[in-house]
Assembly symmetry: C3
Homo-oligomer: 344 residues x 3
């Protein structure tokens, strides 16, 4: 596909400085873009690359526009604008329109004629798949699931019975939604399973990474709000409630019945304990353990950066006796006060 700069500027509401007839066939970084490719300047620290880039055009903030001649697409948010333009050049999906001959569709399922269902997909009773959905090969969608317009399930996704997806929800390969929550009652040294009778609701415009797992609720439903983005290898336990536009990086996890607000950012490998509440606009840095409520927006941490192992071992040995050390300091303070001349 080729687009002129005039066309791109109009579609994406940029101001164009330069040659409107220049054609664009792809995108790349400032450093690696070649003729016919569009690039972007989002982080001012790369501004010096504007002088040497071979990109045919660059999306940037009006304030970053250099004096020199060139093809500039000016926008207040150059990174998001680049993202939208780049989508023009993403490869189209390989799933053919319609239902593949090998897909097994229960007669009671309703599949929109403009949805695609790939080879070996299995769609259970009373499932509803709306317009423009793309179900890749080998997905399993159990009884009563509902997918809004434009959802995409990549290969090997499993949706357990009753999973509800809003519109334009994208789920990457080998992810599981709606598996049983982890609930057992102790009974004389054994564990009795608590049936997991709720389901999972994922709202519009969420994207869920690969190899992620989201459990169904025990009685209520697990819910993920509009516009959330979850990376790979994430674990969402039963009854969790996540607000809108919250993002979670890879390998993070939320334990059962916790609630997370809107516009939060949870770093990679971070873990939230169960039954806690985190308000809106909270940032959790990587590998942090959140074990109690967070009621004030801001950034929270408990991850520890690396140190040479030999030194770290010494520090950890001290950490294991830190309470004792603090008591010693307190004792020193007292002993010292006794020696010091009194103020008067």
């Amino acid at each position: 596909m080729k687009y002129t700069l005039a066309d791109i500027a109009e579609r994406f509401q940029c101001k164009l400085a330069g040659d409107p007839s220049q054609t664009i066939e792809g995108v790349h970084t400032l450093e690696q873009a070649g003729p016919g490719q569009l690039s972007f300047l989002a982080n001012p620290k790369y501004k010096s690359q504007l002088a040497s880039t071979r990109a045919a055009a660059v999306v940037l903030h009006p304030e970053q526009r250099p004096e020199s001649a060139g093809n500039w697409l000016l926008h207040e948010n150059p990174y998001a604008t680049y993202a939208r333009i780049a989508a023009l050049f993403a490869a189209p999906t390989d799933v053919a329109p319609g239902i593949h001959a090998t897909a097994i569709i229960d007669p009671s399922a309703e599949i929109h004629p403009e949805a695609s269902v790939g080879p070996y997909a299995v769609v259970g009773p009373e499932v509803r798949i709306a317009r423009n959905c793309i179900i890749h090969a080998h997905c399993v969608i159990q009884r009563g699931c509902s997918l809004g317009d434009g959802c995409v399930l990549h290969p090997h996704v499993t949706l357990y019975a009753g999973t509800m997806l809003g519109q334009r929800v994208v789920i990457h390969a080998n992810t599981v939604v709606g598996s049983d929550g982890f609930g057992y009652a102790p009974d004389d040294g054994r564990w009795v399973k608590i049936p997991q009778l709720g389901s999972v609701h994922i709202a519009d415009d969420c994207e869920i990474g690969a190899g992620t797992t989201i459990d169904r609720g025990a009685l209520d439903d697990t819910r993920i709000g509009e516009g959330c983005k979850l990376d790979n290898q994430i674990q969402i336990a039963h009854n969790v409630q996540i607000g809108k536009h919250t993002v979670m990086a890879g390998c993070s996890a939320i334990s059962g019945s916790s609630t997370v607000g809107d516009h939060c950012q949870i770093g990679g490998g971070a873990g939230l304990a169960g039954h806690l509440h985190m308000t809106d606009h909270v940032i959790i840095t990587g590998m942090t353990m959140v074990s109690h409520d967070i009621r004030k927006p801001g950034a929270y941490s408990s991850g520890i950066s690396q140190q040479e192992a030999r030194q770290w071992r010494k520090n950890v040995a001290r950490l294991h006796h830190l309470d004792e050390l603090a008591r010693k300091v307190r004792a020193l303070e007292k002993r010292l006060a006794e020696l010091e001349p009194e103020d008067d």
Copy 2:
């Protein structure tokens, strides 16, 4: 399905106080149960909800029974009793009895006529699938696996060759059992694979979550004891031995050749190093690293709760010099002792 309280009380050995003819059609929380639904009181802190609940009946401990009239199912362990009753209302599985026409079954496999095998399942040579097993769509069961009575494999489960499951083992979607352990011998800067020749044994009544991986042994077998419950995204390395009735929460992991006792509880995100031994009745709290043997029952931790990032950064900077700080305190103690008058 509908059941009378008389029927439920008899089946689950509760003492019934109230109307034996009251029918129950479902379960819910005290707060949300409606007419025809049964609820439970397990945590005394919710006792006040008994006054306002609309539940048709409540399972509770005899000592928690309120003065007021109502339908009470009395049992010493109300939570486990609720769990057992609730199972009556769990949706039945969607896999039709018998072997789906698209399942590929090796002629040497033995599948009990009362087992179910779903669409596109692949069952290898010499596999044995016992009575009442349910194999969901897309499972792959390789050569020589054995599944005892009543096992359930959810979609996309992979059992590598030789995996042995006891009775009533449940494995959730996209979980892998029997993959090669992580074993390599260094050889001149390269890694030579150690063939992984053992297998995996999972005993009766275990449940394994979604997206979990359990590796086969290198020479001996990896073993998980009776009644263990493993959550999602767990990693069990080769040669691990887990005792009976141990539970592991999401994203926890056990490294190679470690042994874990009976009745242990391993918190979410916790990790056990390899070649260590943990005795019975040990509780590991969330995100703890277990790096040496635990020979005494009790609770162990090394997770750190979150703090405002600005403050945490200062504390970590100090932690990286904690050994030095402890030495300073020691030096202060000595210097101070020299100043202090001697006891005599």
Copy 3:
């Protein structure tokens, strides 16, 4: 299969001391090997087992050879030699030669006649599968992927479009390669997806565990160098570059755009932040967070070993005020200096 010691010694370049006609039918540990089985001594701490082992022969270092008679295969690297010998006794794969009748192969895919493709595999357009590849049941290989000679994909592997595998790459079950990287541009409180247009290259002789995820690059490619070994449940984010012969244990993760050198060892549960650089020959111990560059070879840590929970809670409480404690120590030092007689 049976092999004589003479045959094994010749194939694997060992010096044989003992009976060349002794036959070997399998391998096991020194403790558990029986007649006809070969064992090995790699760790000198097990040397005492040589006296009691029933193994028919033992691979060991010439310096470890006992005085007593026996069948010894002598090699400078007994562990790697054992590994190579043991491969003789690994079970052959169950995938029949050729393409299974139920595999769906795009007409434009090129599959070598000596490759095997299992049931229900789906192979997209312009895919190239070279000689001796084994594609197990249910793998999905999307458009334009390339697999070099001798690759093995275990069941339920997903390769997104454009994934490039070198020769002899092994990928375990339910692993995903080439899923979209986690990239979004903020735009007025929402997240706009950055199209992920790069791909993934995995070089010769890599092995990737089960349930692992490796994301495609945003613009450049994600690259894993020759001979790397990745365990289960690992997350590799977009644009990551890993050098040669690096190993990563289970549940470890590398965030976007970070580069890792050759011959590194990353422990279980460790996490690398994004946009950082780690040089060659670095060892990261388990559950360490790497948050800044490592330019010097050696071992690095930030994991903390477990402690009894009661004591740990006290220490963490102090850790949350460690900066304050360090200030107190500084103040004590000053106050004490004022009391101390001056040197002259």
